[in-house]
Amino acid sequence: MDKKVHLSKTFKIIMIVMIVLGIISVIAEFMTQDSTRVWANLLLNNYYFLSVAIGALFWMALQAVTQSGWSAAYLRVPQSMSNYLIVSFILFALMFFGVHDLYHWTHADAVAHDPLLQHKEPYLNLPFFAIRFVVFFLLWILITKRINFLSLKEDKEGGTTFFNKIEFNSKVFIFVFAFSFSLFSIDWLMSLDPHWYSTIYVVKKFIMAFFHGVTVITAIVIILHKQGYFPMLTKKHISDFARYIFALSIIWGYMWLSQYLLIWYANIPEETVYYIPREMGEYKTLFYLELIMNWAFPFIFLMWNRVAKNENLVLFAVLVLIAGHWVELYMSIMPSLNLKHSITLIEVGTFIGFAGLFGLVVGTSLSKMPIIPKNHPYLSESLHDDH
């Protein structure tokens, strides 16, 4: 029960090589490409891994609030991701150097000639933007660290007091997360094109983060299981994870349609401007690919009970979804900045670099605590959930 993840030397070396690859890609991009493109690419990856971490923590909070038994043994995986929030905080802070390249509304002369931006100025201005950014990150880090602290204390002392405290903190986190992450998505993604807005946009990004988080948790759990950890992982657990992914793919598709259909139906130029470069121009293939990878594929593939219970097939679906989420974010960022469509080794390399960093942070955090919370009240239900 006290088993911790042992990080092999090869794992660390691979992760560091990945990070170096990422750094090389970013430098190469700075030298060869327009600076807007580099910052857009960095924003994409930063947002990607932030939404993985925060979505996973939301999943963890949800398990506590719903008092779920089956997942009790796997809670350490999302817990370990709270450390990445701190890394993400630093990386996002660095993004402020590129704020003028990315956000049209940060230019005082552009605002001066634009009544719409003037109207939005009380919200969309740089100082308030920075304050929101700091406050949101501090809140996320504080609450999730508190939950981690309580969970580790529960390991030592036992009893149900910590369980109840975690549940309370999770409730707080869910409220804070729903509100702050929505505004965060408006700030960093939707304001790339400050003239356009959609009320469903943040809901979609919220669901995406949740979807992301569960997908990556599943990937980590299955990979660790293959390494010999989580010996109690049964077909039932695999199918529970697969059900989460299946359900979230439907919700994601629903949100996608809700946004698209209303804009299509109303057919107002201010709104359709969002879809014109995405659906008509060079992004056309990716526009459909995004929908296939994130909705159609998991929906049809995971519908089969036998697939949903097979860990290799679920792992395959998860890998497709990890790429699918990247495409989703690529499609929300790049066309908004009028950038040309190009996915080259540089984009792939940057993603690999971030993945390496994420892997290193999560791996190190997992190696520092027992991977099974041994005094969780529902642990026995999770360990013997074999039917």
Binding site: L257, L261, W264, Y265, N267, M303, N305, D386, H387
Partner: protein, 176 residues
């Protein structure tokens, strides 16, 4: 008329372990009657179902039918252009989505009732009415066809696994 043997248990967990032991001993447990649904009993009895496939079929057929209806109404029979939208429009999706769920659910429910031979006003078949109160009843089907030694062995197994009462019943039960 077939005779079934009933093992009556007072506790859910005792009964669950009993089922495992009976099955290990080569005794086929036909059915279980309990006051409330028990999580996981279904796979423990090694029962399977093809109902989800039926649901999928109903859903697929339903989606196609609803699309045909919408297409016939707004493209073939009464083509009326409004809002500059094409006749074969994207907004069909919502109706198709909702009707697929509706048709899938309704027909699955009806199939279930049909397969279980249930209908409003049906007389209840219960091997022991106390299974609606606080008893858990394990049914071992058709002991008449078994040898006497086997029957004694089953009785013994039931006793060993903590059955509070063992009896024979001639109530006709629906077979799965």
């Amino acid at each position: 008329m077939k005779t079934n043997m009933l093992g009556i248990y007072d506790d859910e967990n005792v009964m669950l372990h009993a089922i495992d032991k009976l099955q290990d001993g080569g005794v086929a447990v036909a059915d279980v009657y309990s006051p409330f649904p028990i999580h996981g009993i279904w796979s423990r009895l090694k029962q399977t179902t093809r109902l989800p496939y039926a649901t999928f079929a109903y859903g697929a057929v339903g989606a196609v039918l609803v699309f045909s209806l919408l297409y016939w109404m707004s493209v073939v029979s009464y083509p009326l252009k409004f809002g500059g939208k094409p006749l074969n429009t994207l907004s069909f999706i919502i109706i198709m989505f909702v009707m697929t769920i509706n048709i899938g659910t309704l027909f699955t429910f009806l199939t279930y009732l049909f397969r279980e031979k249930m209908f409003p006003g049906k007389k209840v078949e219960l091997p022991d009415p106390r299974s609606t109160e606080d008893k858990f009843v394990v049914v071992i089907a058709d002991i008449g066809s078994l040898s006497e030694q086997e029957t004694i062995r089953i009785k013994k197994l039931l006793q060993e696994t903590g059955a509070s009462e063992i009896k024979e019943s001639t109530v006709t039960l629906h077979e799965h």
